[in-house]
Amino acid sequence: MLPFTKLSQLEPRAGVTNLSETESYFKSTEFLSLKPLNPNVPHNPSLYKKPFVESFEETPLMVAVLTYMGYGILTIFGYLRDFLRQWNIEKRHIARERDEQKDFVPLYQDFENFYNRNLYIRIRDNWNRPVCSVPGPKMDLIERSTPNYNWTFEYTGRVLKDVLNLGSYNYLGFAENKGPCADAAIEATQAYGVGVGSTRCEMGNLDIHEELEQLVARFLGVESSMAFGMGFATNSMNIPALTGKGCLILSDELNHASLVLGARLSSSTIRVFKHNNMQSLEKLLRDAIVHGQPRTHRPWKKILIVVEGIYSMEGSIVRLPEIIALKKHYKAYLYLDEAHSIGALGPNGKGVVDYFGLDPKDVDIMMGTFTKSFGAAGGYIGGKKELIDYLRCHSHSAVYATSMSPPVAQQIITSMKIIMGEDGTTLGADRLRQLHENTTYFRRKLHDMGLIIYGNEDSPVIPMMLYMPAKIGAFGRQMLKKNIGIVGVGFPATPIIESRARFCVSAAHTREMLNTVNISDSWQSKYVRRLKYINETLTYYK
């Protein structure tokens, strides 16, 4: 039984009041009995203005068993090949230790290196494909061939033209080399040049940066904002400036590497809650406030909840109304990373806060990147004026990293004005509507084919489950033969049996382009249990 009766006898802790209620905020009996809740049904529906439909279908049992069997066979052959390489029966292409280092701790014996040598390299022609045009809705790829099963590559000299691009994060179609954004960027290059040559704090603060930051603050609806040259560095260099020892970071299970790195660099205590699970988060918050820091039981200096807007490997959207209710009740702070959701969600393209119809002032730190929807590079942080002024002096990125390049900043300014509609045309609203239509159409199409799709109905990131390792390689190659470029995702980024192919729809895709994606029966990936799979007309592999 949880010791809630003692709460009323405690002194009020710093920043925390009114804990005399002994029931949890959501007053759910399921929490107290710790029964697992069905994730496919909305809880606390009164906080949501429209239906929140997410689905993560469970792996069918037979498929899981066969996937493990496949990995077992690959492991056995991996050991065989390692043996042959060790005894010099086979030519070695991989990095290895020198003879003088044999008595030291082995460098390449761990699982990641084994996986890399024996599983990843066999199908690695599906990644790092060189793109030689604008990565818009269609792109050109340089064809490669390999004489020794993907250890080395050579160019054949041919270029594959007009490959449908379902892998680039190009949600609003701003990755283009013609049009108003490109013209404005050319003018900015002629005015400022390309390099800045200094950091923000020294001589790298241009007036185009000031203009950009004011525009971003207006776009998000916050008091002030700051822009950085690199999205990954925005997370990893600013979280250490915000928290330190004696603070608690509650981060989602599936947060991006930049958030994890920033949290670890800050030397705060990190606790992880289950993905998008509000009961798990609430339990952690209550435990943190009740017990305080680990040995001394002093209250935490601050509690920071770190979540993302759209999780790119799952396609799920964060349950923001519930998190804001929890944060207000338990007096914690919220850091929202809108890398994929800014520009892609919401009726005005203003991200996940706009999508749920909430007040941007409720989110303490709104972070995002310009890479995905704005066709540029870099990241921003928005919030109260005191916070941003503090970050201007104390962020590692502001002090040590070069500031954003002027044509990139101009591209963001132009594209943001188009999205807000301030350039006088309806181009922004058209693109937002087209993205929403494409998302709904493509998800419906894949679902009707019977494939297991993860994620929320409204997210433009669409992971399609493949499960078996050989299917990632085979699917990528087959799709390239049909002139469609996709991204397959396997072990380190996802759990080992849940490999997937991830589609990213764009506003620049037309319906005809999406109709060319025809996933035939060869994949046997149509695992949805609701549809009875009748194998009447087989499509054969040619």
Partner: protein, 68 residues
């Protein structure tokens, strides 16, 4: 026509077998090794059944007192 349909069906089934057992990712000599092992183990199982099945069936029938 029936023969080419049959051949297509068989090659589709072989392709599915390659994908599920992850042999698709292995080099041709590795596939040969695995297929030979599988075929030899399967052949041994079939031969054992052929040699010992009559004795086993007689023992079962004797146990259930169907035959003396």
């Amino acid at each position: 026509m029936g023969l080419s349909e049959c051949w297509k069906q068989l090659s589709w089934i072989y392709y599915q077998y390659l994908l599920v057992t992850a042999l698709y990712m292995l080099e041709p000599w590795e596939r040969t090794v695995f297929n030979s092992l599988l075929v030899s183990v399967g052949a041994m199982a079939v031969y054992t059944c052929y040699v010992f099945m009559p004795q086993h069936i007689m023992a079962i029938l004797h146990y259930f007192e169907v035959v003396q």
